[in-house]
Each structure stands twice: as C-alpha cells, then as structure tokens.
Symmetry: D2
Subunit: 278 residues, 4 copies
C-alpha cells in the first residue's frame, strides 16, 4: 500500500529523524519526501510518500503515536483513495468544463460528489456528464437555510473540499470559518488591481499588458485567503474588453485546476497567511 | 534616407489613403506600416516607415501640409538619428546597468546624454562607462531649484526623454506636466497590489506566486500613468523576501529596457489613459 | 457589412495606396489593417478589415478589378460567414475536446462540418456534442479509397480546411498537395528534437527542462510545413514520462486551438517556408 | 557554521534515517532538505543544509564514516566558501557581462578566478572589472599544449568548475573526460533543431515562433551532455535574423547564469543522462 502523510508542527530538531525512524518501524519505505521550514512562523511542514506492507490504519496508529511528542497536525491518505470534491458554480461554465475535461482524461485525481448552483443554467452540462446537479436558491432572506442545506450535503456526502468554480455568491463568515482551508476559489487578478464592477473593462481602459488569475483558499475575508496558484497572460492594446474576458477565462480555468490538483495530492500547507506548495 | 513618421488624429475615413498618397508624392516607399483605431476615444494612430530619396525636411514639409486637414499630431525621425535620453537614478544600479549593457551591445538605439542622481553612489559606475554623471542634491527645501537645474540640462542637451531607472524622488506635478509623455518610470507590481512600505516583504507574507514590474509614463498622479510594458516571474514559498527583491530587480531591468526601446523606436502612442505599442 | 480582405503579391510601390483608393471607391471604411513585407521572398501581405454599405459581391468585384495590375492573391470573407472545418482524430481526445469547448463558449469562430476518424473510440464524445462522426477505415490496402472518400466529403460539405487533431495516419503526398495550406496539424516538439518512437520517454531520459508543441501546415514533407504557432512548458526532473505526456497534451490542445483560431480569422499567410501571422 | 552536504547513492531503505541520525550526532540541525529517487537508474540523491556548532572537518568525518555502508558520493561545502569558477570566452560578451553583473550585485555566489580567451577582444572588459584575463592561443597545431596550460591553471588556482560563456572552440575528449560534470556550456536551441551553420538564419527561414537556449554539462560528445536549464522566448515573423540573434543573446545569458547559480549552490546532480536540479 502507498500512502501520503503530511505533517505540520513547530520547528524543532529531530523531526525528520523521528519520521524516518517510525517509517522504518512500519516496514515502510519513503519514496518521496518534501519539507520546508517557514522561519517567519517557525513552522515545519513535510509531505512524505511511503510504501509499506502494513494497512493504513496500522501505519497511522504507529506514526501518530510515535510523533505525538511533536504535537503535529498529521494527515494520512492512501493513494488509492481520492478526495471528494463538491463543485459550486453560478452561470459560467469554463472552470467547471476544465475540471470535467481533466477528470475524463484521468488527469484530475478527485471524486466529484456533485455540482451545486444558485442557477439552473449549467444543469444540462452537469447531467450530460453523469453528475448530480443540485439547485440551491440563494437570496438575502434564505442565506442561512441555503448554507444549512449545503452543510448537510457536505456532511452526508463526506465532502473533503469545495471548489468555487465561478460561484458568484458570497458565503457567510460562519460558513467559511467552519470550512477553513477546505474551500478553493478563483478570481481574476490585475496589475494594478481594480476595485468595483467590470474589472476587465477597467483593465482595458488602463491598458494593462498582463492579466492574471489567482486561486486561493476562502477565508471569512473575501479574496484575501492564502494564495495557492497564480498565472498571467500577456495582452496588447488590440484586445477588446471581450477579448480580455475570454483570455481571463482561459487563465482562470488553468489556475483553478492547478490548485485543485495540488489539493487533491496533499501538496498544500497553510502557514500563516500563505501557502507552501510542494 | 529612411524615416519614421507617426500620426495620431481623430478617426475618420481616408487617413491611410491620404498618407499613402503623400508618401508616393514624396517619391517614398512604405516599408512598414502599423495602424490602430481606438474605439473608446475615436482615435486613429499610425506608425509608418518610409524610404525616400528626399531629405527629411522636404518629406516633413510635404507630408505635414498634405495631412493638415486631418489635424494630426505628427512626428518625424530619420532612422539615423537616435533619441537623446537622460537617465535618473538614486542608489540601485540594476536598471542602469541593463541600459548600459544593451547600449554597448548596440541593442539600445538611444544616445545617453548623461546620468543624474540625488546620490553619489553610482558615480564610479557611470564614469567608468565614459558617461557624464551629475549629482543634484534634492531635499524638501530645494526641490524647485533642483528641478529648475534639471530643466536647464534638458533644454541645453536637447533631451528627448527621461528614464527613471529607480529614481526614488517624487517629481513635482508641474515638472511632470511639462514633460508629459516624455518620462518613463519602472515600478514593481504584485497580484494583489500592496500599499505602503516594504512591498516585497508584504508580498512574501501573503505568499504571492508571481511578482511583476510595470514600466509606465509618469503623470502628475504617481504610478498611474499609461502602462507601456509589464512582465512577471513565478516564485514559490521557498523564496525569501531577499530572493523576491533579487527576482524583482531582474524583471524591472528587463521591463524598463523594453519600454525604453519601444520609445526609442517611436512605437508608443498615448491614447486616453492607455498606450498603443506597435 | 463587414468583411476581411487578404492580399498577397510581389512587393512593389503603391500597393497600400491602391487598396485604400479602391476601398474608398467601395464606400468602405478600413477599421483594421495589418501589413508586412518579407524581404527574403520580396512578398507583400496585407489583411484589411472593411466596413461598407455595399454587398460582398460588389466589393469583391470592384477590388479585384482595381488591384488586378498587382497580380495578387486575394481572399474575401464576410465576418458573418464562418470557415467550415473538418476535424480528423484517431483515439486521443484532448485536442478535439478543446476545440469543442471553445466553440461552445463562442470563442472559436468556425463551423465544424464533422469529425472523421480511423477508429470508433471517439464516436460517443462527438455525437454527444451533436456532431456528425464518420468512421473511415484506413489500412495499407485501401488508402487511396479512404482519401477519395475524404475528398468527396470535403467537396460535398464545402470544407475550407482540415484540422488534424491528433490524427495518427500519414496522408498521401498527393492529398497534401491538393489541400496545400488547408491542413493544420499539431505535434510535440522538444529541445533537442528526438527521432523515433516514444519521444516523451526519450525526453525524460535526456532530462529536458522544457517541452513544447508546434502547430503547422501539412505539406507533402511530414512535420516540416510552415509553422503557425508554438509554445512550451517548463518541466523538472520530478516529471515522469506519464507526467510529460499529460503536460504535452495540455500544450498541444492550446497551440492547435490558437492556430485554428488564427486560420479562422484569416490571420495566416504562407510566405516561402514560413508564415506571417497577424 | 552552516554547510551543504550532498549525497548520491544506490536507492535503498534507511538512507534519510541514516543521514538524520548522523546529523543529530553532529549536534546539527537540518534547515533544508531535498531528495529525489530516480527510478530509471535506481539512484537516490539528497541535498541537505545543516547548521551545527562543529567544524566542517569534524562533521565531514563523522558523516562520511556513518554513511560509508551506503557507498555514497558525498560533497561538503561550508556556505561561507564559494566555488571557484574559471570563465572561458571567445569574442561575444553577453554571457560574461551577465555573470559580472550578477556578481557585482551580490547575486552570484562564486569566486571568479579569471577569464580565459582564445582572442584578445574581451581583455579590456575583463580587466576593467579587476579580473585576470589570460589569452591562450588555440589552433590545430597547439591544442594539446593549450589544454595543458589550461589544466595547469585549473590545478594551480583550485578551480572548481569551468563556465563556457560562449567559448567557440571544441575541447578535446580527453579534457572533457577529466573534468566531467565540472564544465557548463550554453548553446542556442530551436524547435525544430537545425544542423549546420547560421542556425538563427535557418530558424528565420523556417519561421519558428519560439527560440531557446540550453545550459548543459559538457561531455566528450559535444552539446549532448546532461541538461541543466532551458528557456525560450516567443518571436514573430517580424523578427529579422539579427533580431533573433539579439533575443537569443538575452536567453543565453539568463539560462547560463541560472545554471551557474544552481551549480554554485550545489543544487545539481547528474543521474544517468540527465540532471536533478533542486
């Protein structure tokens, strides 16, 4: 059996030694290992790929016990088990399509539990891929009820994380806090940044030469969660606002998929206000 | 003789026809031509490379007269004549070094009139390249006098444009207005943007995955002039603030040089709040 | 009515003047114009976007007649009329999916006449998008018959161009010659290049740090036609051959789509062994 | 004291454990660690950054002894000690200038022992930077003598590695073998590749859309050594062969500097025909 163990704890001497000792005790062999010490927060993070003849439960018990003195956050996942994702969308399909495309090519190691939307527009697309589409009406009156329904689905379906694939509603602070580090969002990014409506039109008026997208964890403070992935494209004066929007779609779908893949493979650690991505 | 003529005017039918007619009348041949219509501002811009047996003065007179009904802004430059640049620096050398490097390789078609600084640090570097270094003390008391000295140099040396190659003083509104469209600046750029001091440290704290630089014209409103060129580099969590600063230097020098080269070759038009760059 | 006219002819004085004169005579207004002179072959190419109150037939007749002395190749296309594409595939779907994705988002201005394959694998995907799928068996015995069937479809369906979206059969010299400049292919590209089978495995063995893809016109000499678009991705030692193949798929689909879009918008000119792409 | 230890050996269980055990025994703390297993060659490589109160000699002795059973290749370098580089050039200065630029900005952690050339052209540049310039005449008659002189300098000056910064002479097989893994070269790279003279002119004729550069170790088989770093730039039909050459210079200097920096920081391992670069 192959599994990934991730560890995050206060930096201190002997961590790697403790891990390698216990992996040997589990009759395990480390096939990949990545580690990083964040000096700002004095945090140590490590992602270790182990192959062993033991079961995951056995290895988990042994490792958890042996490392308890480090007071670590530990996660264990058999590489056979895929994380369960719930995708949320509104009307735009480009990010959703990319996730479906990659999954059908077997390049996106997640199980998609279903797609939630506050509009019916994307139901046919979702259902044509054999996935469950759930419409949840959201308005100013029923937000609490809508999020309660969402939480019940998350609970019932053992959802590991949520992908906001252009979901245009703001989630409540409370909801974001409950799912801290488990919601990934995508939004456009510009140099310089623009406040307010129609950002691509503003970017056009200012004649920006690059446009970008940022995938980040959602925190109660909108669009300010730890950044997971970013990319940009070069544009020229000849691009209309519509062209910029189309180019933006292309960057958004690629950056979001990259972030989801990193999450699916246990490559992301949240350290302070930022991420370590192996 | 080869020359570049640039034209900017209100969009209207018959502009290209008028230009091609008068170029033929000048016994000229168009070897390159680029044009763009900006619909937001209803502005037409065109850059035309002409070879002719006439002198530049002859061609200029004929063309100016024949196109007068379009009420255009016209510039003419023989490709033998290089624009005259004044470079301003403070203590950092990376942008200056890149301009010198490119010029010594004959890849930067400008004449460098001299280098101005509000510090003495870069005098040896400048003088070792055989260039004139002028120290102009700038403080809150003498800003007007300093800018008057600058304007006198610009006038006496027939300076076409100023390159702020990491010049860390703010120029007065009045100065910027007098030289509108003739001062090029470089500054770092991030997704998201950061206000205040130590931007690279802020970028590090937020864990940005790309850092960038923007070259732009200076307007009385600092860092908000029309953008000429932008680029970014990808960075990871492993980069320290010092690494980010070093990577930033590398992007800054390349983006500024690109912008200066565009300006030197008459490739930039200011249209509203943005640029057209051919 | 808006239309695109492209012109290619021997370079000579007065071409732009002649075009602008006749466009005015057609009561037309040039809204975009791009031109280039290739000095190696002494060829002039120009792409002109015109709006006019005349019909396309009227404008075509007037322009063709007025420019006849230049002995040009001319094409005319109303911007309302999309080029008709025939897509050919074998078993891999990534390039096909990208074309379908872009078309469904209205970002790929082509009409897809249908999809041809020498395998049945992709029939369900094609038909689920409401497109015609035609299986044409190809083997060493029946190649002539297969290409005859293909030519009959091209003729009957008024196909403007063929997109080889990972079609793994070699087309005959005769077929390629008949459709010169109308078949676009995609293939992987490496630094250095590799001969023979399993190129991604060879690339892995040599530890290349970038892998790329090239979209090009097909000529009777396989993989050596004029290049339309190229791009690369950075890779590290950690990428397995399978990872490289997945990254390669991503580059291939983007580069091929870019090339198809350029073709659909009349942006490509073949000049000698190379292309001009506006 | 901080030091970097690199280890390369046959993959086997317990390597990381053995290293972490002995580092603890040295009163050391691991501040960075990177490892990779190459399955093709069954090779394990690891780069470990250690801080300790012991001297380098003490730590080296303890670690070498404790890991002897793994039969590893080990290197040790105090981070205070810079590698000693000998730079070889012919007439072109762009790569040399970049190395000097980075060193003067304190971004290139090497000691430059001197510059060797088979021409006198770059003497003034080298000497103006306060470096030793040695002219070694090379011709078909005296190649052996020239290389003997080179080897004597390498020996006398304790040269760690050679940077061929556009050195246009072929080194003998014998010389390359003696310095295997210690000579870094840069050369241009294209998709597709071109044989023979004037590659940029060939690239222009074929209308390539990207041009690149590859930094690699020199082996007795020219231009085929393990690749260290590669990058490309996008170009268009408008670029002349001279433009391509200028763009090529820009890529070459950046890619070579990147490779030299990796080497200076002990980040490169040669594994079979390829490199692992941390």
């Amino acid at each position: 059996m192959d599994f990934i163990v991730t560890l995050q704890c206060k930096d201190q001497p002997g961590i790697v030694h403790a891990m390698t000792t216990v992996v040997l005790a589990c009759e395990g062999n480390i096939t990949q290992n990545q580690q990083f010490t964040d000096h700002d927060t004095n945090t140590f993070v490590m992602r270790t790929h182990v192959e062993t003849t033991q079961t995951l439960n056995q290895a988990r018990a042994t490792i958890s016990s042996a490392l308890a003195h480090l007071n670590p956050s530990l996660t264990f996942r058999s590489t056979d088990v895929r994380k369960r994702a719930l995708i949320m969308v509104t009307k735009e399909s480009h990010c959703l399509r990319e996730l479906l495309y990659l999954q059908e090519l077997d390049e996106m190691p997640i199980d998609i539990v279903g797609v939630i939307s506050n509009h019916e527009v994307l139901r046919p697309l979702v259902e044509s891929h054999g996935l469950l589409f759930t419409y949840i009406d959201v308005n100013t009156q029923n937000k609490d009820a809508a999020e309660a329904q969402l939480l019940s689905i998350i609970d019932k379906e053992h959802v590991d994380f949520i992908v906001l694939a252009r979901y245009m509603q703001i989630l409540s602070e409370n909801f974001c806090e409950q799912l801290q580090g488990r919601i990934i969002n995508i939004h456009h990014s510009f140099l310089p940044g623009f406040k307010g409506a129609k950002p691509y039109h503003q970017a056009h008026e200012r004649g920006v030469k690059v446009i970008g997208a940022t995938a980040h964890f959602v925190t109660p403070h909108l669009d300010e969660g730890p950044i997971i992935a970013q990319d940009v494209a070069h544009v020229t004066h000849a691009a209309t606002p519509e062209d910029l929007i189309a180019i933006g779609r292309d960057i958004e779908r690629r950056v979001l998929s990259q972030a989801v893949k990193y999450f699916a493979e246990d490559r992301i650690f949240i350290v302070g206000a930022r991420t370590v991505v192996f």
